[in-house]
């Protein structure tokens, strides 16, 4: 029962936390560029404004798909905080990702189509890595359950340092940060307009943003698992990781999807295999 309560609470709090993280993200990014930056609450203003806009869509499928996306992201967070099975949680998240792409593909818009194809490539890039991260966690703790990670007693980071970097790749992609912000980049007006998001607008865009916050909370939760033994440890790990993400975002340029697929698969696989071999040996 306690678990269910915690998970329900998480579902309510996740968008607030996710929005605040997005706000802090924008603030720090601005500071890194010697700007003042928007208020911390800016992402909430944006989302509420979008919710109040008149609907403008291309077909009903888009409405269907964004709701399914939101639903699956909420369920992902719920299951995660329930301490459930990592692989199952990930497959539930895939539902949302697939529907999100389906909605963009349903629009006939050239920019959304290109964006959707790129989004598929990003999924193709990070999915195997995340599965491998889960497999390595399971090899350490003997189970795919999140609750077992907490019961394990030692920080996973000691045994899975390279897997944490692999997860970092997935995190960068999922947060849509440079150099992997290829599918819906904010700055690629000429190239993509807004990529996979081009034809979503108003309330639909707001829902996507909220779903994205859930995803961010989930992926950061995954990072936190690597130091599950103490709350301060978790927070320090998250802060350091997120700051590293921001620095990477600000010092790198947007690369091509070919480069992303090749380099992330090569590095991700090499690091995973090394780490797994090390587990065997140890």
């Amino acid at each position: 029962m306690g678990k269910l309560l915690l998970a329900t609470l998480a579902v309510f709090l996740a968008p607030i936390v996710g929005g605040l993280i997005a706000g802090i993200d924008r603030k720090i990014t601005a500071r890194l560029q010697s700007r003042f930056g928007p208020p911390i609450l800016q992402p909430f203003y944006d989302v509420f404004k979008l919710l109040g806009k008149a609907p403008m869509i291309m077909n009903p499928w888009q409405v269907l798909t964004v709701w399914v996306y939101l639903l699956s992201s909420m369920l992902t967070v719920f299951l995660f905080f329930m301490g459930s099975d990592l692989l199952l949680i990930f497959f539930v998240m895939t539902i949302g990702a697939v529907f999100f792409v389906m909605g963009a593909l349903s629009t006939q818009s050239p920019y959304a189509q290109v964006g959707a194809q790129r989004e598929l490539i990003t999924m193709l890039t990070y999915e195997p890595l995340i599965i491998l991260v889960f497999v390595s966690i399971a090899m350490v703790t003997g189970s795919f359950k999140v609750s077992e990670v907490f019961a394990y007693g030692k920080p996973l980071l000691y045994q899975l340092p390279l897997m944490f970097i692999v997860l970092g790749y997935a995190l960068t992609i999922k947060l849509r940060k440079s150099p992997f912000d290829i599918s819906a980049c904010h700055h690629a007006h000429q190239e993509l307009v807004r990529g996979v998001l081009t034809e979503y607008s108003g309330p639909q865009l707001a829902i996507i943003e909220i779903a994205h916050w859930y995803d961010v909370v989930f992926v950061l939760g995954l990072c936190a698992l690597f130091w599950a033994t103490s709350a301060p440890g978790m927070i320090i790990l998250l802060v350091v990781t997120y700051f590293a993400e921001l620095v990477i975002d600000n010092v790198t340029a947007r690369m091509t999807w070919k480069w992303m697929l090749q380099s992330v698969w090569c590095w991700g696989l090499a690091l995973s295999v090394l780490n797994l071999l090390w587990l065997y040996a140890g």
């Binding site: 349903s106 006939q108 959304a112 497999v135």
Partner: protein, 648 residues
């Protein structure tokens, strides 16, 4: 018992002969639908009976073993004649001849026909029952579908004389052969049915009779014939080592203790399974078989016949458990899963995508058999069941679509919703049940990855993880482009023959409902099957959720939340009004009244086109097939080499 086995195995053959004799459309429909109903009912009744052993000795005074032997030779002789006259293919002829010689040697020089039978010729446990159900129900639905499909297919070809009697003869006879195959305990019987399915497959692939189909059918034939040769070798080998030619003998505990003497025939049988299931490097026969009329692809080349291969591998799993053959099979299956998923990404031909995805799923099943834990075997059986339903559905959808839009290219299916709304929805159900939770195929994949991780088979897990990502890619984009529509103003009605729509709707409903009942199917059929072969269950049901040490899969909570959520999303989508809808963003330069064009400076509309990424520079057939065949060939050779090394 007699009557049920008769209905599932012999009746289809009789119906097939009747179909050949009664050429008119009315009686054909009657016979096919009648056989379908009887088969489905008989298979259910058979399951109701529970596990059994059955040793029919003779029919009308003729010894059955003798009859099977006779038919074996007759069949091989027919193939030999076809190979020499029609195909003029020395390879097929040679492979057939080797089998004939081997069989003569086995039957007349090695076997003592007078000796008492060591085991009954037929037996059925839960695994066989599951196969019988899949064959008899999914298979029958596909046969009914063929009734609606074939006339249109023949119209298209402008045939002077209908070839449908012949077509349905093989199609329906095949059902009997398949049922015989999965119910056989005697390896000689199994071998006979095995060859019958190969032959049916050959005849059905070459059904249209044009050059490509004959060529592809020949390739399918010789590849499967190498499996047949391996099968005969395995039989001879087993006879030589004094093991009875029965599955039950191979499955006796301690069989593999004999070392290489046991593992070599097991490998030979697995090799036969690998060719039948079109695993790499034999994938080309299955992709080539896509020239056949679509019901054939659905029935033989996705939901049933190719499953015979994995059935055999899975059936023998306890026999090679704990040996090095098991580990290498896991590698081999995972390799097939990864590479054929990659090939599927590189394809825009819908039937080829389905073919590669079929091979990938079969590879996953073989990988599970190789992992060989109760959980992995559960995964394998789950995938067999759910893949059969969803994939048959997808094939039938593609067939239906192709007859309407005259193309099987994914790019031509853009906006299909505006042409065939009902079929599109059915196809979407097919994609979703193949790809996403809480449906069965995904559940199987989940079990497979978790059990691979539990066994710490690192290369296998890495390949499964990569392959899983690739699968998402090709399914998701397919689903997306089907919907690629402007605001559905006036979605057209879609008239369709009942024999076409019926199976489509039934299979779609089946794909969803079977997943809904998966805890019951598990408790009733899958768990007993795993228990009988591996003496332990892979999962326990805790409040209908699948639980083991590794993890947990919630069934009903997921169904409930996702179902309610989906209904809500659907309701929201229904609220959309035409007034809210605009065209796509085209930099403001869209052509008035045409969503699909820019306006040029000269005032003329200039169309644009977006297409899928097929990544052919990475995943194209031209690029990958060579290396894949090489690696998989080496893998097979290494397996055999290691085993032979054990003998010497």
């Amino acid at each position: 018992m007699d009557i049920l086995v008769f209905a599932t195995v012999v009746l289809p053959f009789l119906a097939a002969i009747a179909l050949l004799l009664l050429r008119d459309k009315g009686s054909r429909g009657l016979i096919v639908v009648g056989t379908a109903v009887v088969l489905a009912a008989a298979s259910l009744a058979l399951v109701g009976q529970g596990a059994f052993e059955y040793g029919p000795k003779s029919i009308l005074g003729i010894s059955l073993d003798g009859l099977i032997t006779l038919l074996d030779f007759a069949l091989l002789f027919v193939i030999l004649v076809i190979a020499m006259t029609k195909l003029k293919n020395p390879l097929v002829a040679a492979l057939t001849a080797i089998q004939i010689v081997g069989l003569i040697y086995l039957e007349f020089f090695m076997m003592d026909h007078g000796a008492a039978k060591a085991a009954p010729a037929m037996f059925a446990d839960s695994l066989s029952m599951i196969m019988v159900l899949v064959i008899s129900i999914v298979g029958s639905l596909i046969c009914v579908y063929a009734l609606g499909y074939m006339p249109a297919h023949e119209d298209h070809l402008h045939l002077a004389r209908s070839k449908q009697p012949r077509f349905f003869f093989y199609l329906v006879a095949f059902l009997g052969a398949m049922n015989g195959l999965v119910l056989a305990n005697s390896l000689l019987w199994l071998y006979f049915f095995w060859e019958v399915t190969t032959f049916c497959s050959f005849m059905l692939i070459s059904h249209d009779g044009d050059e490509t189909s004959v060529k592809n059918a020949t390739r399918a034939l010789w590849m499967n014939m190498t499996g047949g040769v391996a099968f005969v070798f395995a039989l001879i080998f087993l006879q030589k080592t004094g093991t009875g030619l029965y599955l039950s003998e191979l499955l006796k505990p301690g069989f593999s203790a004999a070392g290489a003497a046991a593992l070599i025939p097991l490998f030979m049988l697995c090799y036969a399974g690998i060719t039948k299931s079109a695993q790499v490097p034999f994938q080309s026969w299955l992709t080539g078989a896509m020239v056949a009329p679509t019901p054939v692809s659905a029935l033989l080349h996705s939901s049933t016949m190719v499953k015979a291969g994995v059935y055999l591998v899975l059936r023998l799993a306890p026999a090679y458990a704990g040996t090095m053959l098991s580990g290498t099979l896991a590698m081999f299956g995972a390799f097939t899963f990864l590479t054929t998923s990659a090939l599927a990404v590189g394809q825009s031909n819908a039937k080829k995508v389905l073919a590669y995805s079929t091979i990938a799923n079969l590879g996953l099943i073989i990988a599970c058999a190789g992992i060989n834990t109760p959980a992995a075997i559960t995964a394998a059986i789950v995938i067999i069941i759910f893949h059969a339903v969803s994939k048959a559905l997808m094939f039938l959808c593609v067939g239906t679509i192709e007859q309407k839009i005259h193309s099987r290219d994914l790019e031509d299916m853009r906006g299909l919703y505006m042409v065939m709304p009902k079929t599109t929805i059915v196809a979407l159900v097919g994609v979703v049940t193949m790809l996403l939770p809480p449906f069965g195929v995904l559940m199987g994949k989940w079990m497979a990855i978790e059990s691979a991780a539990a066994m710490k088979y690192m290369p296998v897990t890495v390949m499964l993880a990569l392959g899983s990502g690739l699968t998402v890619m090709f399914w998701a984009r397919w689903a997306g482009i089907l919907l690629s529509t402007p605001y559905p103003k006036g979605v057209p009605a879609e008239p369709q023959a009942g024999t076409v729509r019926g199976p489509l709707v039934l299979l779609a409903a089946g794909a969803v409902l079977l997943s809904l009942f998966v805890p019951f199917i598990y408790g009733g059929l899958i768990e007993p099957a795993v228990r009988s072969s591996h003496k332990a269950a892979g999962f326990v049901l805790d409040g209908f959720n699948f639980v083991n040490q590794q993890g947990v899969f919630y069934v009903y909570p997921l169904f409930l939340v996702l179902g309610v959520g989906f209904y809500f999303a659907w309701k929201q989508a229904r609220k959309v009004e035409a007034a809210d809808c605009v065209g796509p963003y085209l930099c403001g330069a869209q052509s008035p009244g045409d969503d699909k064009a820019f306006l040029s400076t000269a005032g003329a509309p200039v169309g644009y086109q977006a297409s899928n990424f097929y990544l052919t520079w990475l995943f194209g057939e031209e690029r990958l097939t060579g290396p894949i065949n090489m690696v998989s060939g080496v893998l097979l050779a290494v397996m055999l080499g290691l085993l032979l090394g054990g003998v010497i």
